[in-house]
């Protein structure tokens, strides 16, 4: 099962490398990793999606906590949460396909950001599974390029990951 680990980390040079290095050194998986500053410029927020059995996930969170730069972390997939990923797809759009892809984009509540006589760039936001479904529906043959941000997430309700 995938786990989404949200991390508040000191906004120091090398902090990202420490997290990435930990995963490669200890042989843990990273499905995706996103990082950006928070409203507090001294802190970055990282969202890391990983897989493993409960013992491995327990070790991952302990090892992450042990990094001196890590201020706080939480496995948000253990509570009710919202997760989102942003995807931009450059799709081939010619003849009847132009109409079809536009309709699909609407169904998936996406936006078309760029149009040329032969291509569209489509923006879709949602959970990973929704993005996967869109790609499946459009079909590999019509896809020129895919850019995904990796999953980010937030806990529902009062609880949160704050210092």
């Amino acid at each position: 099962m995938s786990h989404i680990i949200s991390i508040l980390i000191e906004n120091e040079s090398g902090a990202l490398a420490r997290v990435a290095g930990l995963f490669s050194a200890r042989g843990y998986n990273i499905e995706s990793l996103t990082v950006a500053p928070t409203q507090d410029p001294t802190l970055s927020r990282m969202t890391l999606v990983t897989t493993g059995n409960p013992e491995i996930i327990e070790q991952i969170t302990k090892q992450l906590n042990k990094l001196i730069d890590v201020v706080k972390l939480i496995d948000i997939s253990e509570s009710t949460h919202i997760e989102r990923e942003l995807m931009m797809v450059k799709a081939r759009a010619v003849n009847g396909g132009r109409e079809e892809i536009m309709r699909l984009t609407e169904i998936f509540r996406g936006n078309i950001l760029d149009v040329t006589p032969t291509t569209y760039i489509i923006e879709i936001t949602g959970e990973k599974s929704k993005l996967d479904a869109f790609l499946n529906t459009v079909g590999e043959d019509n896809i020129i390029e895919v850019v995904r941000s990796g999953t980010t997430g937030i806990l529902r309700g009062e609880r949160g990951l704050i210092v």
């Binding site: 000191e10 040079s13 090398g14 420490r18 013992e55 906590n65 042990k66 001196i68 890590v70 201020v71």
Partner: protein, 576 residues
């Protein structure tokens, strides 16, 4: 007070109470060395290779409990230090490594002697810093000492670009008195309820076993461990890193456990029903095959590092905290409990252990004409009354030292347990001797290991650190040879060391004393000669039985009750 970066660095060390730094100069640290030259409070020990600096600082730290401090230049100076940093990291030794870096303006340009040492060391330090602003230098040094010495200790590296130490740029200096970090709050006190559960479990045990590691020594908790163990009357074993935490000559001590542990320690591990682990990390050399580790036991584990708990072996009752306060509280809980250890069960358990013990799994041929390595260590132990500081390198000699020198006090046994670094012993002995100038410091080594840092004979000469080298010379990389004998049909691939130097002449060429010992009858007199030498380093080159192996041995993938015993030792005979 306005100081330059170089002066700040030195003043920080003075304010931190640093007695010695171990280092080697070079381009990127010239300003710092100039600042060092102008003072006499911090003494600099000039090594002959940066690996030696880190091991010497490490030996100083392990013996004294104070952080070891290292100063190296950029590029090769820093990369040479990496083995020593990794050695300290694996054994959780507090160390601060200061490395010079090329000036900030040329970082990333592949400048002369540039290496990304913070990147290189990231996986083998507790933390590291690249300082980019001279006004933050003092607080960074304080952070480095704070991190290195608190929680689970470890090495911390501070990389300092050369322009930050420019003598022409002066900034106000103030050394922070205390340090707190929002992202770092090591556990101190254990969870009360967990400790109660642990004590209840301990007191219900029928076949209890206490297993402790280097954490007891690092946490200065030997007295508490000894009190608790005696209060309970339970058997205790120590890991290689934990020797000396509990008196090695005490009857409750069943010897070291693990790959080369005693028969009784390993069998007791296998048969126990409650395992009390403290400051140990269930390393693979301890556990043998995990699937068959302590198959009947409920496991209690106390450790300062939450990530040590249930890392390799699932733990039933974890307690996270500093060992000293946790053990102190557990002693109180045992004393105030209505329960007492079951005397009948305990008597039976001890009977079983004494049966295993009677096998004398460390026995060796005492009548042999050749010099047996075990005999040398045993004689050394007798002669020094178990009270010397013993450093070692890595291999068979290290195991013989661990098995036959019975350490009664913590911090007397100084070896590279986790990383297993050959070349550690001699520089570590120099660091130990500096920390305890009046003590007898022996380095038990082998002819292969000693050559990995042999250049430090010059350091020992320069600072007149009178150490005593006990070279168990069998002409082979003995431990590798042993594995080749057992598992590779005695095909001794690249383990025979042809062209060995004449160690006596080598020692003499550095200005030391040297003695070659070929006869068993000369072993004790040679050791006594070494003991008499208070002002000079002496190199004792013992030519020992080249075929001797370390027993018992749990081979890779085997369990505690599946030991290879010395030829002629038969457990079935004993059990019948």
């Amino acid at each position: 007070m306005e100081l330059s970066g170089g002066e700040i660095l030195v003043q920080c060390l003075i304010d931190e109470g640093v007695e010695y730094i171990f280092g080697y100069p070079g381009g990127a640290v010239l300003h710092i060395y100039d600042a060092l030259f102008k003072q006499d409070k911090v003494k600099h020990i000039l090594v002959r290779h940066e690996q030696g600096a880190t091991h010497a600082a490490d030996g100083y730290a392990r013996s004294s409990g104070k952080p070891g401090v290292v100063l190296v230049t950029s590029g090769p100076g820093a990369t040479n230090a990496v083995t020593g940093i990794a050695t300290a990291y694996m054994d959780s030794i507090p160390m601060v490594i200061l490395s010079g870096q090329v000036p900030m303006a040329v970082i990333g340009s592949d400048a002369f002697q540039e290496a990304d040492i913070s990147g290189i060391t990231r996986p083998c330090v507790k933390h590291n810093f690249l300082v980019k602003d001279v006004t933050k230098l003092a607080s960074t040094i304080k952070k480095a000492f704070y991190l290195a010495t608190t929680g689970r200790p470890g090495p911390v590296l501070v990389d300092i670009p050369k322009n930050l130490t420019d003598p022409r740029v002066k900034v106000p200096y103030e050394y922070p008195k205390t340090m707190t970090l929002r992202s770092y709050n090591p556990h101190v006190k254990g969870h009360r309820w967990q400790m109660k559960k642990a004590v209840d479990c301990l007191l219900e045990a029928k076949r209890p076993m206490i297993y402790t590691g280097g954490g007891i020594i690092l946490g200065e908790a030997s007295a508490e461990l000894t009190e608790l163990t005696r209060l309970l009357g339970y058997p205790i074993t120590n890991t290689l890193m934990g020797l000396g935490a509990y008196p090695g000559t005490d009857k409750q001590f069943v010897g070291m456990l693990g790959m080369h542990g005693t028969y009784e320690a390993n069998m007791a591990m296998h048969e126990c029903d409650v395992l009390f682990a403290a400051g140990a990390r269930f390393d693979d050399r301890i556990t043998g095959i995990i699937a068959e580790f302590c198959p009947h036991a409920k496991i209690i584990h106390i450790d300062i590092d939450p990530s040590s708990i249930s890392k390799n072996v699932r733990v039933d009752i974890p307690v996270v905290g500093e060992l000293k306060p946790v053990l102190t509280e557990m002693i109180e809980l045992v004393k105030s409990s209505d329960r007492k250890p079951d005397p009948v069960a305990l008597t039976n358990w001890w009977k079983q252990i004494d049966g295993w013990r009677s096998l004398d799994s460390l026995g060796f041929d005492r009548d042999a004409d050749v010099i047996k390595p075990q005999y040398v260590v045993e004689q050394l132990w007798e002669m020094t009354h178990g009270d010397a500081y013993i450093t070692s390198d890595v291999g068979q000699h290290q195991m013989f030292a661990a098995q036959f020198y019975k350490f009664d006090k913590p911090r007397r046994w100084i070896n590279s347990g986790g990383l297993g670094t050959m070349g550690f012993g001699m520089p570590a002995a120099i660091g130990t001797k500096l920390a305890f100038p009046d003590a007898d410091v022996y380095c038990i080594t082998g002819e292969a290991s000693i050559q990995m840092c042999i250049q430090e004979l010059a350091t020992a000469r320069q600072y007149r650190t009178a150490i005593k080298l006990v070279n168990l010379n069998n002409g082979y990389m003995g431990m590798v040879r042993q594995w080749q004998e057992f598992s590779y049909g005695s095909r001794y691939s690249q383990t025979y060391l042809e062209a060995l130097p004449d160690f006596v002449k080598l020692a003499e060429s550095y200005g030391h004393l040297g003695l070659r010992i070929d006869k068993k009858a000369d072993v004790r007199p040679a050791l006594e000669e070494a003991q008499r030498q208070k002002d000079r380093t002496i190199f004792l080159d013992f030519h020992i039985d080249p075929t001797e192996n370390v027993y018992p041995m749990i081979e890779a993938g085997k369990a505690h009750n599946d030991m290879r015993l010395a030829p002629g030792v038969n457990p079935d005979a004993e059990l019948a």
